[in-house]
């Protein structure tokens, strides 16, 4: 019989304040199979761990149960500790008496009883545990970064600068993301052309970075350290090797359609680059609007191209790559303003969103930086900015705060005033949340120097009144109704997860929150890792963020990847089930049920074989097995039944 020791942690008063730890320890001392039990104020502290090691040696313990916080907190800590004392780490188990006991119950007696039961259940499990050794695996030291916005660019540069190869995947024809659309950035008012473009160029010239623009992830399989990804390279109908990026074709193309880059306020051609500083700077043909594809005529681009780069017969292609880690940097989109009924369901041309005004303010925008309203090109003299349009509105839209709108609204109002000095900017707000470095000062500067008028309250309705837009709102500070006859209205619409993020998450089996933002492994302590090993998160793919935060998170994600790549091997948890060859009758039920295709039947001996590297350890096969030959390691049927007996008992 295994000599088992039980160690009860007080966690200060977190556990001991509710659970009677003395009674619990005494009870565990008496429990069959337990040869030693003690308690300590903080088991995870240095002296706590030292004591654990000492007692293991002194008492010759062969297995350990630590009754403490959730195993997700300290299972690893204690497993390492027991290993230092010479015990196999898998002979250490955690009984959760904090998160699922002392923190959720107040009644001392009931909580103590439950803590004892939780601990005994785990003791029963431990009794039948086997020592295990992790698998040592090779590691591909190449990263895939999905999304070429500022976060993806930063992460790629950091990893590449550490000497590892990076594939930077971008679905548009150029990297740069939403940041490239911005006029100037808060709180320093530098333009993206000055601060982002150099990074884009740096990424494109970096010997370790390969940019895969106009491409999307088709599929990923494998696991941490050894992913296989399939990438779809969309047909651009321009041969990138021949194209010199001269732009002749764009000039000659007769088709004009609204430009996505200009947030639909300007126009682009059917053959187009996103913007003049695009990286890579090769145009693509938009099949839907190209006359050759729609009407089989025109070919103006072909005629204008002196190097013969136009390739109407180009097909999409697929490439497969092996990578060791994947960073998700898919960014954000703005909520469709047409969803907000009270603001006109998107039917008024002069009600625009945050990205649209960025384009109107940008010198590279459709109006060359002159603020002209979309409907008639008039310079608007009264502009109303509406914050929290869709954010912080749990009844109708999104309950969360989009975090950047307070800052970009004051920035836009300021830039508007610089462009139209005799105009007036009004801002309707709920609160101003300006908590970054230099942010509050920036807000004050806008209010004092540029006389932006802040009105605290929500806008209830916007409607057309002749040439103007009537804005009805309330000033909750004075309690007065407000009516403004505006020339243009700017909605700070909510930031939402990027289009396609949900599908990507499903493809990669990554968890997201209910709004499609990727879930981090721990909200405070593991903010850049996803719940699935080998996937990391950067930028607004995880939650709304401003540029400094997105960049910081990207660097953090990159450093996680670099830390991973700095090892020579990877260790895989020994979680694959065992197959009892005597019992297995080769029925193949387990093969059927395994979603990872980790099991095959040995054709000659007709028994199941499990590929331990591919197996994720879900345990579905052991349930499917009608003869009980497949057993999860340290979660055998016998173990669970023993646990159930204790858990269900009186």
């Amino acid at each position: 019989m295994m000599r088992i020791g039980v160690f009860v942690c007080h966690c200060g008063l977190n556990i001991a304040g509710v659970v009677d730890v003395d009674k619990l320890t005494d009870e565990m001392k008496m429990y069959p199979g337990v040869s030693y039990a003690t308690d300590y104020i903080y088991m995870c502290s240095d002296p706590g761990q030292k004591m654990l090691r000492k007692i293991i040696k002194e008492r010759n313990l062969e297995g350990v149960v630590v009754a403490a916080c959730s195993p997700t907190m300290h299972e690893l800590t204690f497993r390492n500790t027991v290993a230092q004392a010479g015990l196999n780490p898998y002979l250490c188990e955690i009984a959760n008496i904090r998160e699922q006991c002392s923190w959720v119950h107040k009644d001392r007696e009931a909580a103590t009883e439950k803590a004892a039961r939780n601990t005994k259940t785990i003791v029963e499990k431990l009794k039948l545990n086997h020592p295990l050794t992790p698998l040592v695996l090779p590691l591909t030291k190449k990263a895939l970064v999905i999304g070429g916005g500022i976060a993806g660019i930063q992460a790629s540069l950091d990893i590449a600068d550490s000497g590892y190869e990076v594939l930077l995947l971008e679905r548009n024809q150029s990297i740069g993301g939403h940041m490239a659309q911005l006029s100037e950035t808060f709180p320093t008012l530098d333009c993206p052309q000055c601060i982002e473009t150099p990074k884009m160029v740096q990424a494109s010239q970096h010997p370790k970075i390969k940019i895969l623009a106009y491409s999307e992830l088709e599929d990923a399989s494998g696991y941490l350290g050894n992913f296989k990804v399939r990438i779809r390279r969309k047909a651009s109908f321009v041969d990138p090797d021949k194209c010199t990026g001269c732009g002749q074709c764009i000039e000659k193309c007769p088709v004009k359609v609204p430009s996505e880059f200009h947030a639909l306020l300007g126009q682009r051609k059917a053959i187009y680059t996103l913007f003049p500083q695009a990286v890579p700077n090769k145009p693509v043909i938009d099949r839907e609007n190209c006359l050759y594809f729609t009407k089989a005529r025109c070919r103006a681009c072909v005629k204008s191209c002196s190097v013969g780069a136009i390739a109407f017969d180009q097909k999409e292609s697929f490439m497969e790559e092996n990578v060791g880690a994947i960073i998700i940097a898919t960014g954000y989109d703005l909520m469709d303003k047409a969803r907000i009924g009270e603001y006109g369901y998107g039917q008024y041309e002069d009600v625009i969103d945050g990205l649209q005004i960025e384009r109107l303010l940008a010198p590279t925008g459709p109006t060359q930086g002159e603020v002209r309203r979309p409907s008639d090109g008039k310079v608007p003299k009264e502009v109303v900015f509406v914050q929290c349009a869709g954010s912080r509105d749990p009844e109708h839209h999104y309950p969360y705060c989009s975090k950047v709108c307070c800052m970009y609204t004051i920035k836009q109002a300021m830039l508007y005033k610089h462009a139209v000095p005799d105009g007036q900017a009004y801002v309707f707000y709920m609160d101003t949340r300006c908590s970054g470095k230099g942010y509050e000062e920036f807000l004050q500067r806008g209010i004092e120097e540029d006389s932006v008028l802040y009105l605290r309250g929500r806008v209830s309705r916007i409607f057309k009144d002749g040439d103007a837009l009537k804005v009805w709102g309330a000033d909750t500070l004075t309690g007065r109704k407000i009516e403004i006859s505006a020339d243009m209205v700017v909605l700070a619409t909510a930031m939402v997860s990027s289009e396609g993020a949900k599908e990507l998450a499903e493809k990669l089996r990554l968890a997201t929150d209910e709004y499609g933002f990727f879930s981090e492994a721990h909200p405070k302590l593991r903010p850049v890792e996803s719940l699935t090993a080998g996937y990391f998160l950067a930028g607004a793919s995880q939650a709304p963020k401003d540029i400094p935060e997105a960049v910081a998170q990207a660097s953090a994600a990159a450093s996680k990847v670099v830390a991973l790549f700095s090892k020579d091997h990877l260790y895989h948890e020994p979680i694959a089930p065992t197959v009892d060859e005597e019992i297995c009758r080769g029925c193949g039920q387990c093969v059927e049920t395994c979603v990872y295709e980790a099991i095959e039947l040995d054709p000659r001996r007709r028994i199941a074989r499990i590929n331990e590297v591919i197996c994720e350890g879900c345990g579905a096969c052991s349930v499917a097995c009608p003869s009980g030959a497949v057993q999860q390691r340290n979660f055998t049927k016998r173990q669970i039944v023993e646990m159930v007996e204790v858990a269900a008992g009186t």
Partner: protein, 140 residues
């Protein structure tokens, strides 16, 4: 005698429901202590035999907690569990057993409140239903 306190065995999947239960703790939500949790890797690894065994061993209710449809860490373990439990409930009904004693619920890692509510609800339902007769029949 005080009121009847049901015993509920909870099989919680490691990735969602167990983490949801932890979050209920981190958020200091209160719920009745009647739940007796067992951590499993996935709801799809819960054999019907475990559930029956729990009922025979004296549990008044069995809760299987898994990730929301589409969210199972192992792709489809929760669908397998749902199918299995649907069948198990049919069998229980056919045998004249109260199938409400077995429940499967989707509780994500961010739904501490849902976990606390599920446990509270199930505890009060089981209280109303009274002791599980199967255990007694089995042992006498």
């Amino acid at each position: 005698m005080g009121q009847f306190e049901p015993k509920i065995v909870g099989f919680l999947c490691n990735w969602c429901s167990y983490a949801g239960a932890d979050l209920a703790g981190t958020s200091r939500m209160q719920y009745p202590p009647n739940i007796r949790p067992i951590r499993v890797m996935c709801s799809g690894s819960v054999d019907s035999a475990y559930i029956l065994r729990a009922l025979l061993a004296g549990a008044d209710g069995v809760l299987v907690g898994g990730c929301h449809p589409g969210d199972c860490h192992y792709v489809s373990g929760n669908y397998k569990a749902r199918r299995r439990i649907t069948i198990l409930k049919e069998i229980m009904k056919a045998l004249g057993l109260e199938d409400e004693r077995v429940r499967i619920r989707w509780i994500s890692a961010s739904e501490g409140k849902r976990y606390a509510d599920t446990v509270s609800r199930m505890t009060s339902d089981m209280r109303e239903l009274g002791p599980n007769p199967v255990a007694r029949l089995w042992w006498t």
